[in-house]
Symmetry: C2
Subunit: 107 residues, 2 copies
């Protein structure tokens, strides 16, 4: 079973995908335009966008022959909460956090 959190972190582990997210921070983009700065095929970028979409980090909407990519920060928020909780352990409710982790484990 792969959770949302698994997919989010796995998606963020690739520098190409992080770069794509950074580009989408500025504006929505078509797949071809996302691919333009990268030294790899369009198909490879298409796969990366698929990973980001599966992780919920972006959404894609087709209008005409152009597929627009849009940042979806909600998935990032969940991962960010997880990380910052570890980084600021003294500032949070550890019992509640551990309950959350146990819940995640049980699935």
């Amino acid at each position: 079973m792969t959770t949302q959190l698994d997919q989010t972190f796995a998606a963020l582990a690739d520098p190409t995908r992080r770069a794509i997210l950074a580009m989408l921070l500025e504006d929505d983009m078509a797949v071809t335009d996302v691919a333009e700065p990268f030294a790899m095929s369009l198909a490879a970028i298409s796969k990366h966008l698929g990973v980001l979409t599966a992780a919920g980090l972006i959404s894609q909407e087709k209008r005409g022959r152009v597929k627009w990519c849009k940042l979806e920060p909600d998935a990032l928020r969940e991962a960010s909460v997880w990380m910052q909780a570890f980084g600021q352990m003294d500032a949070i409710d550890l019992d509640a956090f551990e309950n959350f982790l146990a819940q995640e484990l049980d699935g």
Copy 2:
């Protein structure tokens, strides 16, 4: 070239490794005790601990025949900084965090 950020996110992408980090929140632990709750071999856990160590998320110190594992939350700082670029989580919002936890636990 794999960056520190790549390794941090990749390490966090595995639920076993996140569970290990959660266990280490409570206290430092020996490798054998880390492995105890998991339905996999000690060697597998040893590898996971190697990944976490390479990512800087934990440190390991051998005393006698026991290797102690210790959480190193500072390694998450770089990843948190990256996330701040998205402007969604510039400072941890404890109220939002509590709400998030409540949702997770109810869900």
